[in-house]
Amino acid sequence: MQDDYTLAELLIVAAAEAWRGNGEVLASGIGIVPRLGAGLAKLTHSPELMMTDAEAYLVEEPVPLGPRGTYVPRFSGYMSFARVFDCVWGGRRHVMIGPIQIDRFGQTNLSGIGDPFKPKVQMLGMRGLPGNSISHLNSMFVPNHGPRVFVAGEVDVVGGVGYNPARWPKGASDRHVDLRLIVTDLCVLDFGGKEHAIRVRSLHPNVTLEQVQAATGFPLASSGQLPTSAGPTAEQLALIRRLDPHGMRATVIKGNPSAFAPRATGKLP
């Protein structure tokens, strides 16, 4: 019974762990899984987290995704875009976003593919990546773990800073840089390797380290026996359903597979 959950639901639980023990920070989950993860964290292990209604107000009860029916969010505080930047620069925030590229240094790209002066594919732009990454806790979500995301060299456009000494001007301070988790459809990574190298922290069910390494453009650190990523408890699953009453989490991973579905080997897009 307890094993009756989807991969997306497992990812939500894994994402929620990013916000554990952060203290009182604004938990910003951008996208369905990160947002549900933040909400789950607040409703379980970390009630001190702050959260917005995804518009301009703070709430103490995470707002469910999608049409709200009769549910009306109640506001405990104000968080306009202007205040978001004050919050970001002040450092009391932890955001999880889905970059289009991540490199071995943890540098991230949301701007585009190719030459930034004439991109092959223009994406969103820098958005808040430079500010987020240099100011407060950051985590990432990757629903399609592969070498196009985890690139072999540097990302095409560095939006979010990482642990790449060559990028830092002399005298500049990286003291607030603190990259935490990368939750992917294959595994959970962190920056616990040597000199903040990206390290495998846990593998999702039926995923091998070799599969993960093959899907990654750079060598991953890992140590000893890797645990299997935990799926939701019955309580967590109930909370996830409450936070996502319309089942939008089913759209995150193609086919919405069970967490225990067999994986194709040599996954290379």
Binding site: E55, A56, A82, M126, R127, S135, A172
Partner: protein, 293 residues
């Protein structure tokens, strides 16, 4: 007293080729689209645009009005990448000064406070520096000696905003939950022009109780244009939501040959009253629901 009202055409006539224009709002939210459409109808060109971009930036790019663009993103929110902006970028047609979102407002604040720069860590160690090769660093003169990015002032020749209410004197109010950075666009600009949903003779007489919704004092407002639904197809919360049906059609045209000409012919070439009819008329627009996140 005095009267700052004028037509959208008169606003655009006051703008000059090569100017730096700031555009208020945020993505597909409270954009001064009636003024943007009026620019599309004009010969104005060679603009430097500073914006948290939405269809305003996309349309100006599509029409070839933009030479240089300062932006943190250009997005329609539910449609993550603005399609016409994407085309212009991928064609290498605009000089793209991509910025962090917070850095953009910091540059506006520098201009507002009339200082040449404001320091920050944000942008260091990123390709913001590659895309803005004129940016310089500055060292703290204190014991820390830290090297910071000196975000230069984004001085604007003019700012364009859309507000809920304005009066003839130039007093303005926005009623939505978030004023975005409109205040800072105005303070960074030599002149600011607003369109408004409701034009009053005197806001102090009509809406004194909402005075705290005044986003910037009227000394920053040079001209006021009455433009009900002037933000369409972007949202103007809480009055009306964005028009996703329209934005989807607009997006669809970006991958069609002659798509922009079709959009212009259908929606831009005729003056504003016809535009409002062609997009469904006042009753439909007033009923556009606010988006739910």
């Amino acid at each position: 007293m005095f009267d700052k009202t004028l037509s959208a055409g008169a606003v655009v006539a006051a703008l000059k080729d090569g100017m730096t224009l700031g555009i208020g709002g945020w993505g597909p939210r409270r954009k001064p689209m009636a003024l943007v459409r009026e620019i599309l109808r004009s010969k104005l060109t060679d603009l430097t645009v500073v914006a948290y971009g939405g269809p305003d930036v996309g349309m100006l790019c599509a029409a070839g009005k933009v030479r240089r663009l300062y932006y943190g993103f250009v997005s329609l929110d539910a449609i993550p990448v603005e399609p016409w902006f994407r085309r212009a970028r991928e064609a290498g047609r605009i000089e793209a000064h991509e910025l962090d979102e917070g850095l953009l407002q910091w540059g506006l604040r520098a201009a507002a406070m009339r200082v040449p720069f404001l320091p920050t860590r944000v942008g260091l160690a990123t390709d913001v520096l590659k895309l803005n090769p004129d940016f310089r660093t500055v060292q703290s003169p204190y014991a820390d000696g830290e090297v910071l990015l000196a975000m230069p002032a984004l001085n604007l020749d003019a700012a364009l905003l859309h507000v809920d209410r304005a009066d003839r004197l130039g007093n303005v109010q926005t009623l939505g939950p978030d004023p975005y950075f409109d205040e800072w666009f105005a303070r960074a600009a030599t002149r600011t022009y607003v369109t408004c949903e409701e034009l009053c003779e005197r806001l102090d007489l009509a809406h004194s109780a909402d005075a705290r919704c005044n986003i910037v004092e009227r000394s920053y407002i040079s001209g006021v244009v009455a433009a009900r639904f002037g933000a369409h197809p972007t949202s103007n919360p809480p009055a009306y939501g964005w028009d996703m049906e329209h934005l989807k059609a607009y997006t669809g045209l970006a991958t069609e040959a002659g798509g922009w000409e079709r959009y212009v012919n259908e929606f831009v070439s005729a003056p504003e009253p016809q535009y409002l009819e062609r997009v469904g008329g006042a009753a439909r627009l007033a009923a556009l629901p606010p988006p739910v996140f």
